[in-house]
Symmetry: D2
Subunit: 294 residues, 4 copies
């Protein structure tokens, strides 16, 4: 019999993930702060008005929320599920949060005889919808084995980083830093080419087809080359949140990272200029353009 | 009948390229400042002691040299070939040089009723040897058509950037900047992960197999993760030369590029510390490690 | 009759300040975590073993501690003085801490019907000893008037920044950032001059006597020019703490500050390389020298 | 009998300097590209239409021009004075130029048996008018002694940096970098304070009166605090020229200077945004404000 899964957080990412679990035949309960979002789901699922109701009797709880605070609200606050979880139930934390929060959650679950596994994802909403995410995991080995079938339903690949609960978050934040750095790289290169009289789209295509033929360079490269900042795929303020978490993580281990500081300031400037709800591509590429006067 | 080609510059890259032309049945003359290098070539070719002798009667002259000065020496100096080229002969400039030098050469050739086509390459020495280079071109359309078969012998793809002679150099220098920026990106990300207790090789593998699965990230990523700086593939001082040329190019069009400044300073520091002959990966990745105290 | 003052924190700075209050005829109680330090004081004072004993019946409590945590320990922890302060007694916070902590303390004091005034200082230990500090204040106007005579005993000038409790901390942290930025400025300028063949001490003297004839440039300029990093006047780790607090303060109001990021990374690198207990001048100037290979 | 001096370059700075020489009783010839400027001079002087006429029979030639090219035009071009200078006549180069150009001029003069002394100045136009400049010198010792009385007429202090002709230029460019860095420092500090709710003018006043009580911090500090960018005292494009020369000078000796790169990019961005003719204070301080969204 398949486990009963509660899925908390039906944002742009969560909605596709939850749907894939339904499609795979899991019985799922869902909870979202704004209930309307669940109307996008089809098939067999149950919706609840409170976290407590949604998580009672769950074998597995998946959280896919926007930040550390949102996660703590549903997990460890007075109205959170930690207090009522069944013994040996498993919480899979898939949000992009700090390793510190995962380490704390791991301890709290341990005390309650429940389990916490860290499993953040790489991919945009369409990758979530088509089960093409990449998932990084860290935590207790046996528990990770148990949930593997679930993660495989959601992804094209699961990569493990050991038992330390925060490790997968480190990889996720390092990766988001790398994406921002790639955007800065492309924005500077394409803008320089443009100012030298070249067609920036042609330049982007060349690199995306040759030495930089990775999804990040192809997809973001096209958006940056075209200065196409809509529709908003990922908000600048969420990107900045990740730059901030990566900066905090660097501070904790005394890691000077000037390129991280550069993209951190770049996105912070977007927020300071009222563009926090615009796409993070605009936050970075638009900043480079402004500096260059074009 | 195939054209008679003179190939000037048998360095790590040139040697493989010349060999591929020989293998394809071209009659080639070669010239290299240090004649010993030609001993690595096999098959049918002629070696000359001076540029003038090597280029007399050539239909095509290919230059693959280390910098602008070396190119000017063989092309436009008193002992250079420009003065004795046949009318309508073609000079293919494949070195990594400034767009400015290409623009000047184009004009000088034009005055002499000879031709200049810009055709810098992307790829490491083994890509040159296996004809897996990517080539960017710019210059007169008809001339580019004429030399296309030659470039196809050397590469897995030829990408054109129009008639402006410097355009292909802009792409090449922008690309080398992008490679340096990627190395800084990876070095900061992997070092941060390492200081957080993760295995940097595992982190590099993950990114190289997923969102950053491009040659640059796979190949350099592995070197950076392993801190494997030998054998020297491309010297830090040559990398710095390119950072310097890109910086000059940015200056010419008033393009503020803070990430370019960052890698420029990073490599200049390697040179200042006596590491100019070490690999450029060490120049960048070693600098990040030093700052991080590991 | 003069108020009874309790002075908490007899570090390099506090010792001189406490002595000046004794010399001015104030009755003072002192408390320091490591009691030995008080042996440097002369004249009429009383020493206590606990914070509570030291602060009972005090009209005025002055805190001069190394950071936010040390201050919270003596003020708001279970063994702190907040719980036993007399109604209307005044706490003068002179440590270099975050504006946030001052805002919190202000509220907590307000609830207890006691008072908190923010009064951080500029100056090295010898300025503390000779009452040549500059003091910035913020907080309730009437309370600031009341304590003015005390601050005047300690300083050559008191500058007010209004009623918002955190304001004086903002000025102090901004000022410490400016000092670090000046050190980076001088280190780069003098090292550039040195590499160009000039005598860096002569260059430092010139600027210190002419366009930059301010104490910061004269004093730090001489140390930087001579690469004289001992004795340790202010530890790199304390400097980094201030860079960190300034960075946090910038984050809170979304202020991109690339030069702040530069000195933050510079000092963090010193810490990462095991030089946290060396002078902050070495942290910055030594870093510039290392990058320059001299 | 006083030497006959030819003064070339009656810009904002030169006009005051020439007037001071007239006032001191020197017989002076003047030449300026746009003759109208000389109408601002009063007293005994002669104006010429060409450089050659203006410099014939001169014992001393002073040049005070905007850049290296302008200087070469009047000195070493076909219409320049080098060809007609009297044996043992002295050229005092007071412009802000590269050390390289001074080294070249020194050699050229030496070959012609004339002399070149480097003597750039620090100070704004009103300091030039009131003879309050600071002058740095380098070059042949005996020649420097000879011209000392002239330099004393123009300044409040003459500082020597030895016999190497480029040395004084190194100091001048290092100094201009330091001024730009100070502006970035103040702009970041004051903007941070403003965003934290403080009055930036009050903050500027505090620092200008206390730990940073140097002319640079007082004068520029007031302009930056008030965001008062008019009238234009020194154009952003001239400031950028100096950042560019300092960057070139750093490149020549392999000196990584990240803060120099920062202000270089800051001013280049002002130029890229069409603000090259605005004040350099706006170039830097306005850039910081834009990034901060205020």
């Amino acid at each position: 019999m398949k486990s009963r899964i509660t899925f908390i957080g039906l944002g742009n990412m969560g909605i596709g993930m939850a749907q894939n679990l339904i499609n795979a035949g899991y019985k799922i309960n869902v909870y979202n702060r704004t209930a309307a979002k669940t109307q996008e789901l089809t098939g067999d699922f149950e919706q609840f008005q409170t976290v407590i109701e949604a998580t009672e009797d769950a074998d597995i709880i998946i959280t896919m929320l926007s930040d550390d605070d949102a996660l703590k609200e549903v997990a460890t606050s007075k109205t959170g599920f930690l207090q009522i979880m069944k013994k040996d139930a498993i919480h899979i934390g898939m949000s992009t949060i700090s390793p510190e929060t995962s380490r704390e959650l791991y301890e709290l679950h341990h005390e309650k005889e429940t389990h916490y596994v860290t499993a953040p994802v790489f991919g945009r909403p369409n990758a979530a919808a088509t089960a093409k995410l990449f998932i990084c995991t860290s935590g207790n080995k046996l528990i990770k084995e148990k949930i593997k079938p679930i993660l495989e339903v959601l992804s094209q690949g699961v990569y493990d980083f050991g038992e330390e609960p925060g490790a997968a978050n480190v990889v996720k934040l390092a990766g988001n830093f790398m994406i921002m750095a790639s955007m800065e790289t492309m924005a500077e290169a394409f803008t320089l080419a443009e100012k030298q009289g070249l067609d920036r789209e042609k330049v982007a295509e060349f690199f995306g087809e040759t030495v930089f033929n990775a999804p990040i360079y192809k997809n973001y490269g096209s958006l940056i080359a075209k200065k196409q900042y809509k529709p908003v795929g990922f908000k600048a303020k969420l990107g900045f949140k990740d730059a901030r978490l990566a900066t905090k993580m660097a501070l904790d281990v005394k890691m000077p990272a000037p390129l991280l500081s550069l993209v951190y300031n770049r996105l912070m400037s977007a927020l300071a200029n009222g563009k926090g709800d615009n796409d993070w591509v605009e936050g970075i590429s638009g900043g480079v353009s402004n500096d260059a006067g074009i």
